[in-house]
Symmetry: C2
Subunit: 136 residues, 2 copies
Amino acid sequence: MELQNIEHIGIAVKDLQVSIKFYEEVLGLKCYKIEEIEDQQVKTAFFKVGNTKIELLESITPDGSIAKHIEKRGEGLHHIAYAVDDLRAALREAESKGIQLIDREPRKGAEGLNIAFLHPKSTQGVLTELCEKPKE
Amino acid sequence: MELQNIEHIGIAVKDLQVSIKFYEEVLGLKCYKIEEIEDQQVKTAFFKVGNTKIELLESITPDGSIAKHIEKRGEGLHHIAYAVDDLRAALREAESKGIQLIDREPRKGAEGLNIAFLHPKSTQGVLTELCEKPKE
């Protein structure tokens, strides 16, 4: 498959407001959007850095995947998201190469993107997201 | 401080050759450099993705920090590295804002960059590297 760029890095945080303050006041980045994604049980905050983005993720439920991640491993790096041109084709190719798909079909993610996750068991421990801009 | 872009994402792996094969054959990226950094007890492999890079890290000693990371957390995302224009100034600013510095002064990292790490305890669980291109 052809990965165009790193669309964003996902970071699990306990308290989005505390973390936004840290990223703005200490790292000097600017939060340009806060978005709740019910489907994923998360509230997210986005920051542009050069041509890519940081996505902070706070769980909106005690048993969401971000809450579980933090319980097990603490706050920190959660996933890497690559932009692809054709998400369905990328998923079929990944599957044909032995990758375990978390999402067999694209679904809606933050920022209006079509997204799908690959299971870290089959991607060397890295939870991997593929993102595609919706075609007009 | 002004973070210019994400210079690279560091990923801890058990076996660099196995991982290079995965990144090339499954993800379709091309390894353009393998470099051993004795100072950090790692062998690294680099891949360009858009305007940023993936850095795979394999420990060259059983008790190196990457080996310990894998023992504790398994393979996976290890650190995020931001490019800055003036590393010394960025370190002084970080310190003044309460960040715990792993490296109080820049040292040489992969690809000839001057680098320094910030302690994840003070960066919301994310091991953070700052990188600066050496001035001519």
